[in-house]
Symmetry: C2
Subunit: 336 residues, 2 copies
């Protein structure tokens, strides 16, 4: 049986093995990714992000249960950028286990944010491809925090859901403004708590304030079209704000509707294909950068590199001049 | 007068111009960086990070005033990862203007976190070099947030100060645990507020919990030495916790002492040179990666790249196979 057959037949052992190979960036992992690639492109990649305390993990669980009732297979990639000695991830996993354990249509994989950011985004993207090819219609990517991580993952997801909650303090609102730019759907979770109206109002005014900026940001280089809304109408998507109480499952089906509406919008506007292509382009470029670097390292001897770097450490030459010298050594070797 | 003479003579116009050239990554900027490079290496790069609401900007101002009294020139690079439509940065700048305006020994530059993360960290590093060469003994790099940004900037700074404050809620503690790993000095600001003991206690227990991990993390691959503290004593630095009330200037001189003690520790342990070299290596590698990519783009025609990418979009070949094909086209051209 081929790898793709095993995956699509629900062989969890084959799936786990491939994910580990991909995470380790082994030759087998790369070969596996190449083999499954033509089977990707059907899954809906949904990014779910929000600060700790918003109840984001519970919401992901509820969404998973809801999609399961629709008969869809669900994968969850939980990206945890916090340090290994915090209990957050473990706790979240335990809640998950209780709700979703024993369901063969659900697969959960945690990933620590150790190592380089580029590496993390690349591995997440590769994991999403594996789940997609394996036939998971829904791939949820859950991230904690407010930073470049979330932006990178938003670029990976088709639909990005940003989760807020009342009572987390005004102080941390500022940091979340950046996150609003990437939101396709906004959720106020824990909506049974006092202050829900204020949170929703704050989100609304931030959205209104942010919308023109957001629009220009997304259509960088197409500013002319922004001034002519009729020509650009298909690209307009105003992020809806949904209230949920994840612990009781309230508001979850409405949220699922908003997510589905966003997917429909992406298809109708042609944005789905655009996002897919942009993603593949970034992925190929990242792989190319690595291939160019390892090609360079094969050509130029380590002793030569060390000698050039020694001159940089002694401040005889600047890093920029060092690169010119290294490129010269590289060319010599190529032409030899 | 040469560029470096102008900078070291306090020509603010020349300084501003060079910073803009560097930010725009222009040829003049690169030439300028190469010219000043041999004059770098004397400034103390201090990273200051913490969530919004911790009073971090006020603390940076107080530190600046304190260093000015010591006769040191002070540069502040304020990196704001929040979106352009939040008022945070502007507000902070206004406070700054009032305290530090008109002092020729202080230079403040804000930087928005737009664009790629690699780009941001690289530009911050280049700015720090410019200030360093221009004779600023103290270069403070202020960042907001809790994520990869801070880790990248900590790798750039000699000393990283993490600022906390009482009463920001337990919910956001989890996200900060990751930040503790990069802290060389911890500050509980707003220490006149209720809850200061709890915040300090939480930091202490997180530090104790985190310390072994932190140690292994910093000395990756040298795990044997960790078990033998006597051989490794010079590398041990337990981050001190300082209380401050920035608005009243309380605790600032003690904080300055801790920062100076850390610098002394870096010099004695040899870690200062190690960090400098690691930084130069990363910078050179990033520049090399860009040079390799632009070399590739010169060799391989855009039409060829588009044709290969078209096959990827159609899922005829995987990104990995595409890279192998692109590298083949590249080699052909090199050998021609």
């Amino acid at each position: 049986m081929t790898l793709i057959d095993s995956l699509q037949n629900g062989d969890r052992l084959a799936l786990t093995r491939l994910l580990t190979q991909v995470e380790n960036d082994s030759a087998a992992g790369r070969a596996g990714l190449a083999e499954i690639f033509r089977h990707t492109g059907r899954g809906h990649l949904i990014g779910i992000t929000g600060a700790p305390g918003t109840g984001k993990s519970s919401l992901v669980n509820q969404l998973a249960l809801h999609y399961r009732k629709q008969g869809k297979r669900v994968a969850i990639i939980a990206v945890d950028p916090s340090s290994p000695f915090t209990g957050g991830a473990v706790l979240g996993d335990r809640v998950r286990m209780r709700d979703l354990a024993g369901d063969a249509g659900v697969f959960i994989r945690s990933m620590a944010a150790r190592g380089s950011l580029g590496g993390l985004a690349q591995t997440t993207a590769a994991f999403a491809q594996v789940f997609d090819a394996a036939g998971f219609e829904i791939v949820m990517i859950e991230t904690v925090g407010a930073g470049q991580n979330e932006v990178d993952i938003a670029r990976l997801a088709h639909t990005t859901v940003v989760v807020e909650a009342p009572g987390l303090g005004d102080d941390i609102q500022a940091i979340k403004a950046g996150i609003l730019e990437i939101a396709d759907v906004l959720v106020v979770n824990k909506a049974d708590r006092p202050g829900v109206e204020n949170t929703e109002k704050a989100l609304k005014s931030m959205l209104e304030l942010g919308h023109p900026m957001r629009h220009i940001f997304q259509h960088h280089g197409r500013a002319m079209q922004v001034e002519s809304p009729r020509d650009d109408s298909s690209a307009l998507w105003i992020p809806p704000i949904r209230r949920t109480v994840a612990l009781e499952g309230r508001g979850v089906s409405e949220l699922v509707e908003s997510i589905a509406a966003h997917a429909a919008h992406l298809h109708v506007s042609g944005e789905w294909a655009t996002r897919e292509q942009a993603r593949l382009e970034r992925e190929t470029e990242a792989l190319l950068a690595r291939a160019l670097m390892s090609h360079f390292q094969q050509d130029v001897a380590e002793a030569q590199i060390e000698s050039v770097m020694g001159d940089v450490y002694k401040k005889n030459i600047s890093p920029w001049e060092a690169v010119q010298e290294l490129m010269r050594l590289h060319s010599q070797k190529e032409q030899a």
